[in-house]
Structure formats: C-alpha cells, structure tokens
Symmetry: C3
Subunit: 138 residues, 3 copies
C-alpha cells in the first residue's frame, strides 16, 4: 500500500466544462498504482469538479444552461465584490462537487463508458485552476 | 493496510430511490476490514448515489417530486437523443452525487440512525446499474 | 501507511453554516499523518458538509438565502413529521454533500486560500451534529 500526491492544472477560458480524464489517467499510470482510489480535489470555491457525460457536447451545453437559469447572475446578491458572476459561482459550486473519488483497477480509472471528469468553471474570466490528486492503493 | 475491490448491481424499475445498505454491509463484512473507508461509485451519468433518510418512504417520495419539478422532463433541452428523461437525468445526477464514501469501524458501516445508501434512478426504463466498491483499511 | 478514526461534534443554533476547519486541522495534526486524505462524514440527513468561501460572511448569507428560496419551507410536502423545516432539510442535504475528502500534505489540510469546511445546518432547532473522521496516509 502506498499514497502518492500529485497535481494538475486546468486553464479555463470562461464559463463551461473542461474535461481532464486523459491527464488524470496519465498521472495515475505514472504512479503505478494497480488497485485503489484516486481523489481529485479542486482548491477553489468558484468552480467545481464533476463526473459528466462526455460523448455529447449538447448534454454539457444543456447542463450549463440549466445552472445559468437556476442560479442567475442577475440575482439580488449581497456578496458581489468581484462582479455579477461572483456569488452565482459559489452557489453553483455548492450544488455540484469540490472533489471526485474514482476507483482504479489494473492501473486504469474505472470510469463508465460515458463518464468523463470535468472542471466546471463558473467564472467569466480566464483562470488557472489547481487540482490536488491523491492516489491510494497498491 | 489493504485495499479490496468489489462490485454490486442494482436493478431499477423506473425512476426512484433503491436502498442497498444491507448489500453494502455484507460486502464490507466479507472483506474483513475492521477500520477504514468504503467508497461506492456508480459508473453511469443518468443515475446517482445518495445517502438519504431511510425510515420514512414519504420523505423519499417528496425528494423525488422535488427533483421532478426542479429539473422537469418538459424542459427545452438540446440533448434528447434518448427521450424526454435523458437530459433531466444527467442534470439530476450533477445535482446529487456519483459516489459516497462511508467510514467503517468494528467492521460496520458507520451510518447514522436514519441514514441509508440509495441508488437514485433518473431514467424511466428498467436498468441494471453497476456500482464499483473500494474498501481501504485494516 | 495507517488508518486513523476520530470524530468531532458541531453544536448548531439554528439554520446556517458553521466552520470547523481549525478543529479538523488539529485532529489531523494529532494523528501525525504527513501525506494522505481525511474524510469528514456527517451522520445525519438533515444537515450537510460543504467546502465554501470562508472569508466573506456575506457569501454564506447569500448561499443560505438561495437554499431557503430553492427549497422553501412553505412547500407542499407529504413528510412533515417534525415540522415545516423537516423535509426541506433532507432535500438541501441531497443537493449538497454528506462527506468531504480533503488532501493532507506536510501534515496540513490542502485547502485553497479561500476554502473552509462547514457544517451546513438545515434545521431550526439547536442540534449536536456528529462527524466521523477517517485519516488514511503515512
């Protein structure tokens, strides 16, 4: 049994979903863990991590539209230090996830056929998002 | 310390919540981990895993009605390849959880008095849902 | 590699967010795990655990208002055994998280600059909330 720490960055160019399944798989392979778990944890409160359908871009557009409507930027927020997309970003983060934990077997992420792992960016500006990875297994 | 992989299936018959706490406890007991964590991860993007109140069926019916109203099938979705329940299923998944991690002590899941673990099915048709289990501990 | 179990309690005084980042850091330090993961799991279905912005109290007030409006207590719920805040509490829990998993490096929680870990209480009455902690690492 061992524990490995690593990290990756996702560069975002505005609101939307950015897949990093391949990057995550490469890092897991590098650490040579055959059986275990990898946890991806994003160190921010205005973006999320999410497992989502990765074959149909239309599904991700619908997801993004849904969150735009459920948590509108035109809301009446007390906290708007960084503009109208500031508070909605925190709420959309709270409604989704800060980390995902994925099983590893035979050195491979055990994602389903249609699953990919995404950074869900909730801010309008470009950002470099930092994701901590922890792999535990043998 | 050891890591154990296993899996279970939940057969669903339409939208709703399906408890699998007892099956999960049996598998944890089989692997003889006394202290640690079990992660249940569902390999699909149109159903969820959720810890929920397991004593009152009315609470689960209210939960299901809330999601039916919050993410209506009669929405104006771009992605509807598999019918009107296709895109709402992905959104309801995003709003809940793809995995749950539960502590184990003395070989028992450390669920609270009213907690059960459920497969939350968002599709109308019957499905066999695949859940990967990873148990880490000693 | 080792696994450590511990627990902490959060005493709540009505609906709102209660930070316990410092208490969690102290317990992680006590167990002398340098590299690994800590999972905080709440044994209840009417409150949540959530990573959230911890610098601006206004951001937390906006978050709480959003959930009050999205899941109103004045809803038409079948399950209301414990009053009008009973069923909304379960739904708000389902929309947020029962556990959070945070990486540990150099013995420190790897939280981002603006991240804190909170108990999100959804009930009006005061409660003592029980959180199970599991630390895995070396």
């Amino acid at each position: 049994m061992k524990v490995c720490s690593d990290r990756l960055q996702v560069r975002t160019r505005g609101k939307g979903t950015y897949e990093f399944s391949d990057e995550l798989q490469s890092i897991v392979a590098k650490h040579q863990v055959r059986t275990g778990l990898v946890t991806a944890f994003v160190r921010h409160t205005s973006c999320s991590i999410l497992l989502m359908e990765n074959a149909a871009p239309a599904a991700r557009r619908d997801l993004e539209r849904f969150f735009d409507q459920l948590v509108p930027e035109a809301g009446n927020y007390e906290h708007d230090d960084e503009g109208p997309d500031d508070m909605p970003a925190h709420i959309r983060m709270a409604l989704t996830r800060t980390s995902e934990t994925i099983p590893v077997a035979d050195g491979e992420l055990q994602l389903g056929t249609w699953q990919g792992i995404f950074l869900f960016e909730h801010r309008r500006a470009s950002h470099t998002r930092h994701i901590e990875l922890t792999i535990i297994g043998e």
